[in-house]
Amino acid sequence: MTTAERAGAVAAVATPVLAVRDLSVSFPTETGTVSAVDGVSLDLASGEIVGMVGESGCGKSVTAMSIAGLLPGSARISGSVRLDGTELVGTRESALRRVRGKEIAYIFQEPMTSLNPVLTVGRQIGEVLQIHERMSRRAARARAVELLTLVGIPSAAKRVDNYPHQLSGGMRQRVMIAMAVACGPKVLVADEPTTALDVTVQAGILQVLRDLRDRLGTSILIITHDLGVIADIADRVVVMYAGRVVERAPVTDLFAHPYHRYTAGLLSASPTPGRHAGTERLQEIPGLVPVLSVQPDACTFADRCPAADARCRESAPPLEVARTGGTLAATGHLAACWHPCPQPRTQPEEANR
């Protein structure tokens, strides 16, 4: 069996709804080009929730926005984004407009600023139905009430005529979700959907997203810098660093044994209840995410990495099944690291017990 045949066989088993291949995005700025995303590939299967995690400025949001061609005209984009096999990169605006809101819908971070302050929420939800489903304004309003109920807004018939400022933060985010799922999109891109909300509200929002996946079979790409959110909701995780995917794994595998040094750093930098309890200082990753004008043929994490050596600075590690001594049967667990963490990360407390 040749490589191509094998790839075909794999594709036949689970055709992804959304397939991103080798996506690169750069922006010309006054001080030169900034490379924001470099060769990102990821798949989203039907009904799957994939989490994308990384620090601010690692290219998560740019990746998300480029999926439906929402980046400003100045962005230079290469690679491929296929929705059910249809190429979206380089497609005409008019064709992309039919995809946006209907096939691929977005939920953004700040529900206060992301909703139009001068239109009622019913109008804003109805608008999507009016353009994509050719519904009348009246029918769209009636459907908006149903959608508000679906996302768990009490007395939706009254809320539909409210303006965003009359709703709480959590309610607003539910409105955003109702708007996003109005046309039953195949893919929902949620860019930091819970970041601006407090923890109890956050749990409610994640529950709504999970419900939608279960009931409507929507595939969800959830972008966050919060590992807790990932652990809570995602099936698979993509870790990004400085515009590249550095690790990709099923969620349990990633938390159990991260391969990439950056992922390991991220995990030890997030507090675990009980473990830190105010006694122990959280470990941080020294340094900052670099802003790159050219993506070097090197590991971009090398400068901050405890295990970096000459090889890391000379050639970029490919994203592949990590060689860690061959004891782990790593199914779909890939890392771009020359010196992956040698064994499953052992919890010191567990070792002590």
Binding site: L70, R98, V99, N116, V118, Y163
Partner: protein, 318 residues
């Protein structure tokens, strides 16, 4: 709402009273004497004295003021010292001219200013923006009286497209009326159009880069719907504010424009009255202008809450 209206009414009454006081004593503080202007050739002290007595100008000022306020309260604006006609009948002929001129100027300026402002914001960094910015700069820097003279010279005298001066009441001949008033209205509106354009442009640039416009795009809306329904609606508050604030400038501009185009409006009446020290006319004109100002600002405030549901008229802080 009731409380808000009450507060507003009280504030308005106070403003009107203050402007009455300022104008009444202000015009009398000016050098010059209406008796002298009226006496003509016969400037004998006896003649002047007779004139002063006739118009009550020989009374002490506070008494004159009290009498004036009393008559005003009864709706009596008095009689023009210069012409002897009641001020109220002068107002009924002059007011429609100025109102028509100003309303037309505001409409033209808003249409032009908002249109050009939106265009400049949407076509940022492209020729359309440079043209719009250039026009706004010209509109702001060239004084209207000069622009008016140029317009008369080229559009009226040289080509005869528009009448150079004069006015036909709208009820007499609406077409001819428009023909007379459109050029002055355009000239009067230029400055306002430029200001509206610049404000609209910057407000649009803000809202076009906002999160809700990103959401609108992500919904798959056409650019036209994104621009009008989402970005422009959020920019309108700025336009309304600017128009409200510029109203004073517009009224003083109307005075000059009417003078240039020989329109028998409020402005001409004011200037004539000031030159002749025609106290009752000046007082009436100023009081009416102040009232117009208050009323229009009230409507502007009400309009705010129509445009932006976050703004509520309650009188107490939200």
């Amino acid at each position: 709402m009731a409380r808000y209206l009450l507060t507003r009414a009280w504030q308005s009454a106070l403003t009107l009273l203050l402007s009455t006081i300022v104008v009444f004593f202000g015009v009398r503080a000016l050098p010059g004497d209406p008796a002298l202007a009226l006496a003509g050739e016969d400037r004998s002290p006896e003649a002047l004295e007779a004139i002063r007595r006739h118009y009550g100008l020989d009374q002490p000022l506070p008494l004159q003021f009290a009498q004036y306020v009393e008559r005003m309260a009864q709706g009596d604006f008095g009689v023009s010292i210069r012409t002897g006609t009641p001020v109220s009948s002068m107002l009924t002929t002059a007011l429609p001219v100025t109102v028509e001129l100003s309303v037309l100027a505001i409409l033209l300026a808003t249409a032009l200013g908002v249109g050009a402002g939106v265009l400049a914001a949407v076509r940022r960094g492209r020729p359309a923006e440079w043209v719009a910015n250039g026009m706004a700069l010209i509109g702001l820097s060239v004084p209207h009286f000069w622009l008016g003279l140029l317009a008369i010279l080229y559009l009226s005298v040289a080509t005869g497209l528009f009448p150079a001066s004069g006015f036909v009441p709208i009820l007499e001949d609406p077409v001819d009326n428009l023909h007379h008033i459109v050029l002055p209205a355009v000239i009067l509106g230029t400055g306002l159009a430029a200001i509206i354009m610049r404000q609209t442009r910057s407000a649009m640039l803000d809202s076009l880069s906002s999160d809700y416009v990103r959401t609108a795009k992500a919904k798959g809306l056409r650019p036209r719907a994104v621009i009008t329904r989402h970005a422009l609606r959020n920019s309108l508050i700025v336009v309304v504010t600017v128009v409200g604030l510029q109203l004073g400038g517009l009224i003083s501009g109307a005075v000059v424009t009417e003078q240039i185009f020989g329109l028998p409006g409020f402005g001409k009446m004011t200037i004539d009255a000031v030159f002749q020290r025609d106290y009752p006319v000046i007082q009436a004109v100023v009081l009416l202008t102040a009232t117009a100002y208050i009323v229009i600002n009230f409507f502007v405030d009400l309009l705010y809450s129509v445009i932006d549901p976050r703004i509520r008229v309650t009188g107490d802080p939200a």
